[in-house]
Subunit: 313 residues, 2 copies
């Protein structure tokens, strides 16, 4: 593994002119409910509405001027696409975003609004990768993969860097896992800062490739996702699997019903808007309370790009 | 008028151990849409979910020990009731809250959760006042009126004190008007700090007693409210009318449709949860853009206690 804490620190310096230092929130009533103390890192307030801007911005600004001149390309069900579009805009370069048919309308509108070119393809990993490869070939654009790209992973890690700078020592960190870029990055940052910290990844039962992979000891790539968490349907990558094992991340599964209940609690008690993929972290804290009771926990609320016409409760 | 800036400063000191210093948010995209720059004071993050805690807390802690021992009583369609219940709890005294039939369920649950005693009455001003008077007579509880009480008005003013301490000089402040306690308090604070500042009150067209009163030059008290803004249905008081005139507050009416659209924009762009009564401020900025264009505006987002099962769009 070539990624180290220095890469997270470099990412933090690189994105500082562009990214927000997001708010950390606490709630007495949620602490009482959960039996632990939770510092919520509000990445729903990040630019483009999700932590994804950190990684995308780091990747865009890590390119040489010669590479950057040809633009960037990626595939994304939404938040990474919007993040890369905005990151490219901060550097004044072109962005191509390959999106699967059926992606959330609000997320597609955001990608377009940031000036990127949308390319629709069938909702399969093969179709996405082929379309990306073709565009890269035709335009010379640099591929910025949503979660296996090392600059992306390093950028996501800055969320933990900021959180732990603000809170000081915590006993545990928990973040959603989809492709695994976020939990990988924050694991590198958190373990370097506080070696005793425990790391948890919250994963929908209907897209439990990380949970199954750790259980079986091999990367499971044949799970067909069935979850309301549209940001967590990706099949995680080899580098992401390696990071999970290297940093002893424990995966905590949650049902969609638990995720929806947790999402509603966040709206009601924190008075903030998050998307289902963000709510898995609180859902896991509440479901697996015996693993987390009495700890000082940092929870990454990963984004807020929810379709307000179709709230899930 | 006996209320002065010193009263607001005293209120700020009195409530400091109990109330939150709330976040101030900005949004590039909302600024572009509105054609001005807006600093949103997020009172939805205040304790009990609304600015009302400021006034209630100031009133509760301004009581002598002998008065406080008998508890407090008020009538409120919701947020002031919850705020007074929580304020009473911070001092360990009893709270009685008279609520009209048909009040928002989530707000009633909050009042109960803070340990207050609920008393239901018919949804008329006469019924509320009679019930309050009876309870005060029977228990000796001090009446804390939701918007004519001077300690309440002074407490609400601390929202502007905090906002202007954080932002420095602004050209205008805008807040919702229901009973008028909030706009009255912030007018006193803001004009003392920045004498040139313009003051605007945003009011639903369906409850336009303040607008009509200023137009006719007499306090209009016979308007039957018809608006989605459940926190803005009260008929404002004599002291509140005096403050509007003394501080040259301009009332900007908005339709419920404009309020709902603005509420949705806040959810979408700021990623925070507010109630309809809060959204009137942004709705007025967008509707009356010729009055506000290019100004540096402070807008009070007054609360976040919305019924999540019945969002209005």
């Amino acid at each position: 593994m070539s990624l180290a804490f220095a890469d997270i620190e470099a990412a933090a310096r690189r994105i500082a002119p562009h990214a927000h230092v997001t708010l950390v929130m606490r709630s007495r009533s949620l602490d009482e409910l959960a039996g632990c103390t939770i510092a919520f890192k509000c990445e729903n307030f990040q630019r483009a509405g999700a932590f994804k801007f950190r990684g995308a911005c780091n990747a865009v600004w890590a390119l040489s001027d010669a590479q950057a001149a040809h633009g960037v390309v990626t595939h994304s069900s939404g938040n990474h696409g919007a993040a890369l579009a905005l990151a490219a805009k901060t550097r004044g370069i072109a962005a191509h975003v390959v999106v699967p048919e059926g992606a959330v309308a609000a997320k597609l509108a955001a990608i377009r609004a940031y000036g990127a070119t949308l390319h629709t393809c069938a909702p399969t990993l093969a179709a996405r990768e082929e379309t990306c490869a073709r565009i890269a070939r035709e335009t010379g654009a640099a591929l910025v993969h949503p979660f296996t790209n090392e600059d992306v992973i390093a950028g996501q890690g800055t969320a933990a860097l900021e959180l732990l700078h603000e809170t000081g020592a915590l006993d545990a960190l928990i973040a959603p896992i989809g492709g695994g870029g976020l939990i990988g990055g924050i694991a590198i940052a958190a373990k370097a800062m506080f070696p005793q910290i425990q790391l948890f990844a919250a994963e929908p039962e209907g897209a439990a490739d990380a949970f199954e992979s750790l259980r079986r000891g091999v990367r499971v790539i044949d799970i067909v996702p069935d979850t309301i968490c549209d940001g967590l349907r990706a099949t995680f990558g080899e580098i992401n699997f390696s990071l999970l094992r290297e940093y002893a991340v424990e995966v905590l599964p949650v049902s969609d019903a638990q995720t929806i209940a947790a999402m509603r609690l966040v709206f009601e008690r924190l008075k903030i808007v998050i998307e289902p993929s963000s709510a898995v972290a609180l859902a896991a804290i509440l479901r697996h309370r015996e693993r987390i009771a009495r700890l000082r926990v940092g929870a990454i609320l990963s984004g807020g790009n929810v379709d307000l016409d179709h709230l899930p409760w």
